[in-house]
């Protein structure tokens, strides 16, 4: 198929983007490095979420569970059980994958609004656990003092942590990109389009839904790990349904039917939230209006919009099926 040569513009685009993000700390005042780190972590979470939402077509409102569990693994791993960095990351990923599998199995028989409400209930059940098991999680006060000594090849400063997060985010984005193109990834997209057709082709639909949740849970937990180390603090809010609603909206605004859309959604929403709250105390009203207007005028999200414009211009006069070489093909007329 197309050799790398044919995809030259894409490679340049990616390299330019990566270069820009790497050089970002030098371009902006140091405060915005912290903000950018949060954007990148949330962007990574949004991409992981999109494996279930955009690719799998499953409306999950309970993804904070993976994110928060990853965060708590770090919080407890550092302050209470003093695990090593590798153990913390492995446990977080295993936890994310395991809970992801549980979500997949429990949501086998549901779709649409019922799946949304089921994942909401699951997420809240896990939030309730963290909120209530006070002896372990210190409940509402959360866990602070989650120092970054354990994080390898990086000092504890905000700048070096930014680069660490960027590295991990790019690696995850790359692997999620390859995963989305892999047979399993395309099969997940297929189950979104038509589960009955995919089953008739020989795909075990339930399995692919589970894989989507496992992969999504795993990378969401990883994002949760980075989020806690970034803030050096974790509280039940990281598990609360409002975080699940936030990431859902980020993916929609960004454009869930594209690969990088949700990442852009994260940048747009967090920057907007930050910029608007500088200028008005009523930033919640502005955000609410943004969500309403997005749904009404930008249903496919910002990146999706590009797609729709492109499609509208590309002339869609489908040519009549040419006379086939052999005589064995139905001919359609216009």
């Amino acid at each position: 198929m197309a050799a790398l040569r044919g995809r030259w513009p894409t490679v340049v685009g990616v390299l330019a983007g990566v270069g820009l993000l790497t050089a970002l700390p030098a371009l902006v005042p140091s405060f915005y490095v912290t903000l950018s780190t949060r954007i990148i972590v949330i962007a990574m979470f949004a991409l992981a979420f999109n494996v279930v939402f955009g690719m799998g077509g499953m409306h999950s409102l309970g993804h904070a569970a993976f994110f928060g569990l990853g965060g708590y693994t770090v919080g407890l791993g550092v302050t209470r059980w003093d695990w090593s960095f590798t153990v913390i990351v492995l446990v977080a990923l295993a936890l994310g994958a395991f809970v992801g599998l549980a979500y997949g199995i429990l949501t086998q028989r549901t779709n649409g609004i019922y799946l949304l409400l089921l994942t909401l209930a699951l997420g809240q059940a896990i939030w309730g656990l963290a909120f209530q098991q006070v002896e372990i999680t210190r409940g509402d006060n959360g866990i602070s003092g989650v120092t970054r000594e354990l994080v390898p090849l990086v000092g504890t400063g905000a700048l070096s942590y930014y680069h660490f997060v960027l590295l991990v985010a790019l690696a995850s984005t790359g692997s999620l990109w390859w995963f989305s193109l892999s047979p399993v990834g395309r099969a997940i997209v297929g189950t979104r389009e038509s589960p009955t057709r995919m089953a008739a082709l020989g795909f075990r639909v339930g399995l692919y839904r589970n894989i989507a949740f496992v992969v999504s849970g795993l990378f969401s937990a990883l994002a949760g790990v980075l989020y806690t180390w970034h803030h050096r603090f974790v509280s039940p809010d990281a598990l609360l349904w409002e975080m699940s609603a936030f990431i859902l909206i980020v993916a929609i605004v960004g454009g869930a039917n594209t690969f990088l859309g949700p990442a852009l959604g994260a940048a747009v929403i967090i920057s907007l939230e930050f910029w608007v709250s500088l200028h008005t105390q009523r930033w919640m009203t502005v955000l609410g209006l943004v969500y309403v207007l997005t749904i009404l005028f930008l249903p496919e999200g910002i990146v999706g919009l590009g797609g729709r414009l492109r499609r509208r211009h590309a002339s869609v006069d489908v040519p009549v099926i040419p006379e086939p070489t052999a005589s064995r093909s139905g001919r359609s007329h216009e």
Binding site: A2, R7, P9, T10, G13, V14, A16, G17, V18, L20, L21, L24, L27, V28, P29, S30, F31, Y32, T34, L35, R38, I39, A43, F131, Q132, V134, R138, G139, D140, N141, G142, S144, G145, Y227, H231, R232, F233, S235, D237, G254, T258, F259, L260, G261, A263, L264, A267, V268, S271, F274, W275, S277, Q281, W283, M284, I302, V303, G306, G307, R310
Partner: protein
Amino acid sequence: MTQTRRKLLAPLAGMALLLLTACDVDGEQDDDAVTIGLLNPLTGPFAALGEDVNDGFQLYLDEHDGRIAGRDIEVVVEDEANDASVAMEAAERMVEVEDVDAIVGFVNSGVAYGASTYIAEAGVPLIISVAGADDLTQRDAVGNIFRVSYTGSSDAMPGGTYACEELGYETASVVGLDYAFGWEGVGGFARAFEDAGCEVIQETYAPLDTADWAPFIQELDTDADLVWVLGAGPDAIRLVQAYRDFGVDVPLMTHGSAVDEEILEQQQADAEGIISTLHYSRELDTPENEAFVERFEGTYDRVVSRYAEAGWSSGLLLEEALDGLDAVDYDTLTAALADVAIDAPRGPISFDEYGQAVYNIYVREVQEVDGDYRNVVIDTIPEVSQFWTYDPDEYLDYPPYEELKDTWAGN
């Protein structure tokens, strides 16, 4: 696969562009002006508390037309939004972009804990306006973090001793909300009550935001001489209502936060007769308090609250600290704050070496005063430390209250 190129390029460029536009650098500085950051919640469940603190502080500035200790004061207000990640970024922005000289903030203890790591590192003096978690000014005390409000246990311990020694109650059933403030309040009361020779016979915790308090109220051991409650906000309203609804005729005593002025305004007759201990009451008849209450309620036409007093007092504290200070920087301001002594509406305030305010504790009783229900001051316990009558080092060796939860009754 031609679309992939455009799909990849657009988002990356878009993301970078957005980051650049987000940083409109402002915050021009003139040299002798002092910038104070107000980082309290303006949205979410604690929005009212945050606004009271900010209004109290602003009112104090307005009384001195924007200049205290001979310096122009610039105020930067940001929303803590009851969210640790937002609060941390706001604190960092205040320090690095707005170049604030001090911060007055934090209502939610979880958020205060979250942001304290950064603030300790940055060294900017912080006056905690409300957040009550004990360890912020005890085990995790940091030189540049002060607190003008109470710790979870500080205003409860005097109540324990007073109930046992002065009011003559021998047994008590204690009820608290199941989060840090609840364990610390209940623990403080129980420790003092039992050390004064009386006995806690029942200990109950109800989750934050309990919708229906009936089951807890009906489980109360009515043989107890006293029921002591640690509740706040809407929980306090619902709790006292259920207490009266189910006709529990055991005297009710609470931590002052359960009958805060703005809560009492909703409780009205339900709260009649409740005795409580707190470092402030609207009915204090000191000249400073009368002037403060009259100005606040005149300017904002809502009843004054201890949060507003905390904002006003922070202004007073900063004025005293800035007075006679030639170079204002983190260290000089922190050092100056450490040994201020002022007469605030609540009475005299100074800081102990952990940064916690030392102040009077008032025993109040809810009485009807010309048609309205007020916390009438019936006794004063002067100059109370956060460790009450215990030696600080000995007190800090006790296990933290979260580990003492469920251990007070029955031993």
